[in-house]
């Protein structure tokens, strides 16, 4: 009688072990599916991330070359006599010190500075919604100390061409002109789409 009971219990235990084993196997399969999902999602994210270009670049070589060359650009403004033509770098100084000089079409120094830079930026990058370059922003600052950003003050209006929609990669650069006291800073920011 007892022997029969033992046999029955052993059978029950075997069935129970099989059930437990089957549940464990199902858990492993579930776990493996989760691992696969995590890996697939990770790889997708990695792929998307690697396709993106770096978002902000400072001291871009092309912008630096543009700014240094632009300061040498000879304008049609002159101070004392015709032939004494001034560069855009000179115009920046005159605009800051509010010195009157003769410019074509009776424009002021600051107006001529803005006009010439607007023309150049438009010619070189031609920013716009359906263009590779979305916007260009040129800023003029006076800075008492070149490393002291808190001391900067704007002395002419920013020149903003284009629109920031579709902008992905911002590149920038700056150039300075030394004065007897302090520096004039010229900063250009360009944004390109993907």
């Amino acid at each position: 009688m007892r022997h029969g009971q033992n046999k029955s219990m052993e059978q029950d235990m075997t069935i129970l072990r099989k059930i437990i084993s089957k549940t464990a196997q199902q858990e492993i399969v579930g776990f493996m599916i989760i691992i696969l999902l995590v890996v697939v999602v990770g790889v997708i994210f990695l792929g998307i991330y690697l396709r993106q270009d770096s978002a902000i670049v400072t001291d871009d070589a092309e912008i630096m070359n543009f700014l240094s060359s632009s300061l040498r650009y000879t304008t049609e403004c002159y101070k004392d006599y015709e032939g004494d033509y001034k560069t855009l770098g000179d115009l920046m100084k005159y605009c800051y010190t509010n010195t009157p000089i003769t410019c074509p079409n009776s424009l002021t120094v600051c107006q001529t500075l803005a006009k010439d830079y607007t023309w150049m930026l438009g010619k070189l990058w031609n920013p716009g919604i359906n263009r590779p370059v979305k916007y260009t922003k040129l800023s003029f600052f006076y800075q008492a100390n070149i490393s002291d950003y808190d001391s900067r003050t704007r002395f002419a209006e920013n020149l903003y061409l284009g629109n920031s929609s579709g902008c992905n990669i911002v590149k920038s650069g700056s150039q300075s002109i030394s004065l007897d006291s302090g520096n004039l800073m010229l900063e250009l920011e360009i944004c390109k789409g993907n």
Binding site: I28, V39, Y49, S69
Partner: protein, 156 residues
């Protein structure tokens, strides 16, 4: 049962390390890729700018081409092999919308100096430069500088 527990543990560890590895890879490789692209572009621009700074072209300042020298170069075909490049063009930024090739006859009322005509249709490396020349107004000589772009088709 113990083997199953061990398998669970190993799998958990693998998942953990895979996640850590993915995170690390996405951060480091993402930055490196952007940095490499930017530095390669900067290097090409600097190489082109260095060409503009060569004594044969330079106006004496950095990143500045003397167009009076340039026009003389163009009239001497035996200088074509002087720069080891596939093509070299200097374009002046002006209000004209069409290309006017510079020759000794029309200089400086032109906007394109083709020193070496590019051999293929590949995209050139380019840099923005000053294009300076001597001008005379009211018997006064002065330096007139325009903006320009130097384009170089490198030999691969």
């Amino acid at each position: 049962m113990k083997i199953k527990e061990m398998i669970f543990m190993i799998l958990a560890l693998v998942v953990f390390f895979v996640i850590v590895l993915l995170f690390w890879l996405s951060v480091t490789l993402g930055d490196i890729k952007g940095d490499v692209a930017q530095s390669s572009r900067d290097r090409n621009i600097m190489l082109v700018a260095r060409l503009a700074d060569s004594p044969e072209l330079s106006c004496g300042l950095s990143n500045c081409i003397d167009t009076d020298k340039l026009i003389v170069f163009m009239g001497r075909p035996h200088y074509l092999g002087f720069w080891d490049v596939n093509g070299l063009i200097v374009e002046k930024l002006d209000s004209a919308n069409n290309t006017v090739e510079c020759t000794l006859g029309n200089y400086p009322r032109c906007n394109t100096f083709t020193i070496k005509k590019p051999l293929n249709n590949t995209i050139p490396d380019s840099s923005i430069v000053s294009l300076c020349r001597k001008e005379i107004k009211n018997d006064i000589s002065y330096e007139k500088c325009d903006m320009g772009r130097i384009k170089v088709w490198s030999k691969i």
